[in-house]
C-alpha cells in the first residue's frame, strides 16, 4: 500500500468518526462517543503515518523532500493539523459534542485532496529548495487548523442559541460561555501561528526574491485574514463584542482563511502557485 491509498482509507476513517460523533451527541450514547474518539485517534495516527510514508517514498525516488509542496500534500497536512487541534480540545475539555462540528473538516480535506488534485510525488523546483519551507508551511497550517476549530465551535454556538434553552439538547451542549471562551482560546492560539507563518514567509521571500512583501494575492489575503482575527481579538476588550458577534466574526475569519488557502490559488494568479 502506498501513502496515497493509505490516506484515502484514512479519509473514510475520519468520515466514520464524524458520523459517530454526530450519533453520540444526538443520542447521548457514551459508548458511541468512545467509538468516535477511537476512530479520530486512529485517523490521526494513520494520517501521520501517511505523511511520513510519503516522505520516505520521495527519498526512495531519489529526491527526498518533506511532503509540503503541492495542493494535495498541503491538504494532508491541513487534515492532520485540524485533527490534532481537535483532539487537544477534546482531551482538555472532555467534551465530544464539538467533534460533531469539527470532525468533518479533516474528512473533507483529505477526501477532496485525493479526489481533486494530482497526487504524484514531484521533486522540488529551485524556488522551494529552502529551509524556510518547513517552518513557513507548518506554522501557517497550525494557524489554519486552530481557526478551523474556532469555526466549528462558533457553529455550535449559533446552533445552541437557536435551541430551546429548556430543551433536552440545550442541556447536553456546553454552555454559551464555555463555547465563547473556546472560540477565543482557539483564535488566540491560531493568531500567533498565522503571524509566525506570515513572518517566516516574508523572510523566505526576502531570501528568494529580494522582497519581503510584494502584495502578491496570497500575501495580501493572509494579511486580510490576519486583520480580521486581529479585529476579533481587539473587539473582545469591549463587552458588546462577545457571544454572537464574536461567533459571526470567527465564521467570517474562517471564510477568509479558506479563501487565502484555496480561493487565491484558483481564482487569482500570483507568485505563490504551489499550494
Amino acid at each position: 500500500m502506498d501513502s496515497t491509498e493509505l490516506l484515502s482509507a484514512i479519509s473514510l476513517t475520519y468520515l466514520a468518526s464524524w458520523f459517530a460523533y454526530v450519533i453520540s451527541s444526538t443520542t447521548r450514547s457514551l459508548w458511541m462517543g468512545r467509538v468516535a474518539s477511537l476512530l479520530m485517534w486512529a485517523g490521526w495516527v494513520g494520517n501521520g503515518a501517511g505523511f511520513f510514508l510519503r516522505w520516505m517514498e520521495s527519498h526512495q525516488m531519489g529526491h527526498g523532500r518533506i511532503p509540503l509542496t503541492n495542493q494535495y500534500e498541503s491538504m494532508v497536512l491541513f487534515a492532520w493539523a485540524t485533527a490534532s487541534v481537535y483532539l487537544l480540545l477534546e482531551l482538555r475539555y472532555r467534551n465530544r459534542i464539538i467533534g460533531a462540528f469539527v470532525a468533518f473538516i479533516p474528512f473533507l480535506s483529505l477526501g477532496l485532496g485525493s479526489l481533486l488534485f494530482d497526487t504524484t510525488i514531484r521533486p522540488l523546483v529551485p524556488a522551494l529548495q529552502s529551509n524556510w519551507l518547513t517552518a513557513h508551511v507548518i506554522t501557517c497550517f497550525l494557524g489554519y487548523a486552530a481557526f478551523a476549530a474556532s469555526f466549528g465551535v462558533s457553529l455550535l454556538y449559533m446552533v445552541r442559541q437557536r435551541l430551546d434553552p429548556e430543551g433536552r439538547m440545550a442541556k447536553v451542549l456546553p454552555s454559551e460561555d464555555l463555547l465563547d471562551h473556546l472560540n477565543y482560546r482557539a483564535i488566540a492560539t491560531g493568531f500567533p501561528f498565522l503571524s509566525l507563518g506570515i513572518i517566516t514567509g516574508a523572510i523566505w521571500a526576502d531570501v528568494a526574491w529580494g522582497t519581503y512583501w510584494s502584495w502578491d494575492p496570497k500575501e495580501t489575503w493572509s494579511l486580510i485574514t490576519w486583520l480580521i482575527y486581529a479585529a476579533f481579538l481587539h473587539a473582545r476588550l469591549s463587552r458588546g463584542w462577545r457571544g454572537k458577534r464574536a461567533a459571526v466574526l470567527s465564521v467570517i475569519g474562517f471564510a477568509a482563511t479558506l479563501f487565502t488557502y484555496f480561493g487565491v490559488n484558483f481564482l487569482l494568479s500570483g507568485l505563490h502557485s504551489y499550494a
Binding site: 521533486p123 524556488a127 529548495q129 503571524s195 509566525l196 486583520l227 479585529a231 476588550l237
Partner: protein, 451 residues
C-alpha cells in the same frame, strides 16, 4: 484597557479609541480585498478593454490600479501609526502604574469587585492554619507575602503581571514593521539586470523608473547553468559571478535561487534566464554587388544601406520559433511613417525592406542570466519589528496575570477565611485554582485535638 467616557471626548482620546482600532482593521482589509479583485499595475490599454473608458478613468483617479501605493492607502497606514502611538501613550502609564503599585490587602470594597470569591469558616486558629499550610506546601506558600493588620492576617500573591506588557510590545513591533518598510521605500533600491554569459555590467535598471543606475563596480557572469531532474523538473539555476572593482576580482560566487550574494552594499538574487543572440545579417539591393554585413543584438538599431536611410530595430530573438529554427523580430519605419514589424527566419527567410533584401547569415547564441538587485536600509528594522510582534504575542497569549488574596480573621471560635482572585485572561483556570486552594484550607483548618 476599557476606554473610559472622558477619554473619548478629546481628539487625542478619539485617536486612541477601540472603535478606531476596529474601523482601521476593517478599512485596511476592505482596501486590500479591492487590490486583489482589480488587477494592479497593468498597462492602460488592458484596463480599457476590461472596464471601458469611464470606469478606467475613475479607477485611475481613485488610485485603484495601484491601491497599495496610492496616497489614500498610505494615509490609512499613517493614521494607523498615529493611532498606535496614541493608544500606547494614553494607556501605558496607567498599566505601568498598576504593575508597580503593590497589591493591597483585601478590603470590603475590593472584595465586591473581584470576580472569584470564596468564603470559608475554619475551626483552627489563624497561626495554626498558616503553620499547617507552610508545612505541607512550602514552595507554594513562599509565593505569598504576609501582611498583618491588627489581628487579621493577609496573604497576597501576584504572578505574571508582565503579560500585560505583551500588547505594548506587539504594538511596538507593528510600528517597527511600518517604519522599516517606509525607510526601505524611501531610501532603498530595487533593480534588475540581464548579464549575457561571459559579459560584465556596471549599470542596473531601476524598477519602476527604468533609470540606469551605476553600481560603482562590475558584475561579470562567467557561466550560467540549468540542471534538471530525470522527469524534466528544473533542479538548479546557477550563475557563476565575479564582482570586480577597478579591474580587480574582489569576490567570486555561485548565485542560486534562495542563496543571494551580498557585495558593495547590494544584494543579488537569481531571478530568471533566457537565450539571446548576436546575429549577422547580409543586405543586398537587386542582387547586385557584394552584400553588406550588419551585426546586431536584441535592442540594437542599425541602418542596412550605405546611405543610412533604411533603419531597422532588432526587437526579439527566438531560438526556435514554431519549429522553424532561429528567428529575429525586426521593426522598420516605412517611408509613409508607418511602423511595420515581422519575423525573419535564418533557415528559409529573406525579408524585403525598402527594396533591400535581408537575410540572416550567421547566429551566435548566448545565454543571459536575470538578476534582481536590491539595497534596503530598513529591512533590519522590519525584522526587529516582527520579532517584537512574536514576543508580544507570546507574552500576551501565554502569560496570565493572576492575583490571589487570602484574608484570615480570627473569630470567636476558629477563623473566618476569604479567598479571592482576579485574572486578566484565564478566569476558568483561576476559579479552578481557588477551588483547590479552598480544599487545602478546609483540610488544614480542622482543629487539632488539644491534649
Amino acid at each position: 484597557m476599557h476606554p473610559r467616557k472622558t477619554e473619548t471626548q478629546s481628539l487625542w482620546g478619539r485617536l486612541a479609541s477601540l472603535r478606531l482600532t476596529l474601523a482601521l482593521f476593517l478599512i485596511l482589509a476592505g482596501a486590500s480585498i479591492l487590490g486583489t479583485l482589480i488587477p494592479q499595475n497593468r498597462p492602460f490599454q488592458e484596463y480599457l478593454e476590461m472596464y471601458g473608458s469611464v470606469a478606467t478613468r475613475i479607477f485611475k483617479w481613485a488610485g485603484l490600479t495601484d491601491v497599495y501605493h496610492s496616497l489614500w492607502f498610505m494615509g490609512i497606514l499613517g493614521l494607523l501609526v498615529v493611532h498606535l502611538v496614541a493608544c500606547s501613550l494614553q494607556r501605558l502609564p496607567a498599566t505601568w502604574k498598576s504593575l508597580r503599585t503593590p497589591q493591597r490587602p483585601l478590603s470590603d470594597g475590593l472584595l465586591k469587585s473581584l470576580p472569584v470569591v470564596k468564603r470559608l469558616e475554619l475551626e483552627a486558629g489563624v497561626e495554626e492554619v498558616v503553620e499547617a499550610l507552610r508545612g505541607s506546601a512550602p514552595r507554594f506558600f513562599s509565593r505569598f507575602k504576609q501582611e498583618k493588620i491588627g489581628e487579621t492576617l493577609h496573604l497576597l500573591s501576584q504572578r505574571g503581571s508582565w503579560s500585560r506588557m505583551g500588547a505594548y510590545v506587539a504594538h511596538m513591533g507593528v510600528l517597527g514593521v511600518l517604519v522599516g518598510a517606509t525607510i526601505g521605500f524611501a531610501f532603498g533600491f530595487k533593480g534588475f539586470v540581464q548579464i549575457p554569459e561571459g559579459k560584465s555590467v556596471e549599470l542596473v535598471e531601476e524598477r519602476g523608473s527604468g533609470k540606469m543606475v551605476p553600481l560603482g563596480f562590475q558584475v561579470k557572469c562567467e557561466r550560467f547553468h540549468v540542471s534538471s531532474y530525470p522527469d524534466g523538473t528544473p533542479r538548479e539555476y546557477r550563475s557563476d559571478l565575479v564582482f570586480m572593482k577597478d579591474g580587480r576580482r574582489e569576490l567570486e560566487g555561485a548565485l542560486r535561487v534562495n542563496h543571494p550574494i551580498s557585495f558593495g552594499g547590494y544584494q543579488f538574487y537569481q531571478a530568471s534566464y533566457g537565450i539571446s543572440a548576436r546575429v549577422t545579417f547580409e543586405a543586398q539591393k537587386d542582387s547586385a554587388g557584394p552584400p553588406l554585413k550588419i551585426i546586431m543584438e536584441p535592442g540594437d538599431t542599425s541602418a542596412i544601406d550605405p546611405q543610412g536611410q533604411i533603419v531597422v530595430r532588432f526587437l526579439r530573438y527566438e531560438t526556435d520559433l514554431q519549429g522553424r529554427g532561429p528567428a529575429v523580430l525586426l521593426a522598420h519605419l516605412r517611408q509613409d511613417g508607418h511602423p511595420v514589424a515581422g519575423w525573419v527566419f535564418q533557415r528559409d527567410g529573406k525579408a524585403t525592406i525598402g527594396g533591400w533584401s535581408l537575410k540572416i547569415s550567421h547566429v551566435e547564441e548566448h545565454r543571459w542570466t536575470g538578476i534582481q538587485v536590491k539595497r534596503d536600509p530598513g529591512v533590519w528594522i522590519v525584522w526587529v519589528g516582527c520579532g517584537l510582534i512574536m514576543v508580544g504575542c507570546a507574552m500576551a497569549f501565554l502569560g496570565v496575570h493572576r492575583r490571589i488574596w487570602i484574608k484570615l480573621e480570627p473569630g470567636k471560635d476558629g477563623t473566618h477565611c476569604w479567598i479571592a482572585a482576579s485574572s486578566n485572561r484565564d478566569i476558568e483556570g483561576t476559579k479552578r485554582q481557588v477551588e483547590m486552594l479552598a480544599e487545602e484550607f478546609v483540610k488544614k483548618g480542622v482543629r487539632k485535638s488539644r491534649g
